[in-house]
Amino acid sequence: MSILIFLSNFIMPLMIFYIVGFGLLMKKNIYDEFIKGAADGFKTVISIMPTLIGLMMGVGILRASGFLDFISKMIGRVTNLIHFPSALVPLSIVRLFSSSAATGLALDLYKEYGTDSHIGLTASIMMGCTETVFYTMSIYFMAAKVTKTRWTLAGALLSNIAGIVASVILAGMM
């Protein structure tokens, strides 16, 4: 595991070094291009800001009411049997439907338990290796006008569950 942590600290600097170095080597206007990209990134974040306000408000209300703790405890009785932290149950489920709603829940976990706690680390890895299955499936199949989706859902759920299990195990090793 210490190798993974070591790598984590090196990936970003090496990537930046490679991209900037390669750009220089190709004699591109790297600074102007960077500024142009940064402006695009800026716009993307500003465009998701209203969504984030809405969803963080929704999750905030749900958390403050005590309902999230209630539901986690209920489901936790089952999930404790397989050593899955009950606090992560709402996140695992909502993640399948909406990326931004899941972000709201993950941020809530960071606040409640800390980003570097076991739950915070698991939630972080989970956010990185799972996908909004139901949302993605509906827009992609709508584009192809397909109604019978065959084994797509089964395959997507299987890979997402594999990702969740891997997240719990990897975070446990950190």
């Binding site: 408000m57 993605t136 199949f141």
Partner: protein, 192 residues
């Protein structure tokens, strides 16, 4: 989808709060969360600016094109039945590379185009073809290698080392994708 999900969060929260005696907390939470969302976006603007800026350099200097060429053998292996040179193949490749690099806004349009072109090859129009199932399973197995947004959130919420999850997230992403690929391949062979 979000109409119900978001609506349910608020309605359930307020009704549960009324019985649980947490109404004052709910008022505070509603107002504080909105403020927090804006603070979070300020951190995000910086980090996404850096990321997309770097990707722009990668784009113009040809790194993304060469990455696209590198995954071609993988696309050939997963989609043997799409004719060579067909548009669908090109869009699938673009979608996969954009997802790996975390360029979601570039991935979705390419993915939708891939589906439309796969639809042309599909004989039974309302039923997903084997290629569609395979493509979507790979797509939904999560491909993004560096979860830059998660790193941004962690940095905003006071992590000592926000990027510490990078390598474990890559390992977890590989695991979920491998499971998806194996499943898709088995089903494809079974239904040939």
């Amino acid at each position: 989808m979000l109409n119900y999900l978001w609506g349910a969060m608020i309605i359930i929260g307020i009704v549960y709060g009324a019985f649980n005696g947490t109404m004052t907390d709910i008022t505070a939470a509603a107002l504080d969360s909105a403020k927090e969302a804006v603070e979070l976006c300020i951190t995000m603007v910086g980090i996404m600016g850096v990321w997309v800026g770097l990707m722009q350099i990668a784009q113009v200097s040809g790194i993304i094109t060469s990455a696209t060429n590198k995954i071609k053998p993988f696309v050939d292996f997963m989609f043997p039945n799409i004719p060579k040179g067909h548009k669908a193949r090109e869009y699938i490749t673009t979608n996969i590379i954009a997802n790996i690099l975390g360029l979601g806004w570039a991935a979705t349009p390419a993915g939708l185009m891939a589906m439309e072109h796969l639809s042309e090859l599909n004989h039974n129009k309302d039923t997903a073809s084997i290629e569609m199932c395979t493509f979507l399973i790979i797509n939904m197995s999560s491909l993004q290698l560096i979860p830059i947004n998660v790193i941004a959130y962690r940095s905003q919420y006071g992590s000592v080392n926000p990027a510490i999850i990078t390598a474990p997230a890559i390992v977890a992403t590989l695991i979920s994708t491998i499971f998806g690929i194996i499943f898709a391949k088995i089903m494809a062979v079974k239904h040939r």
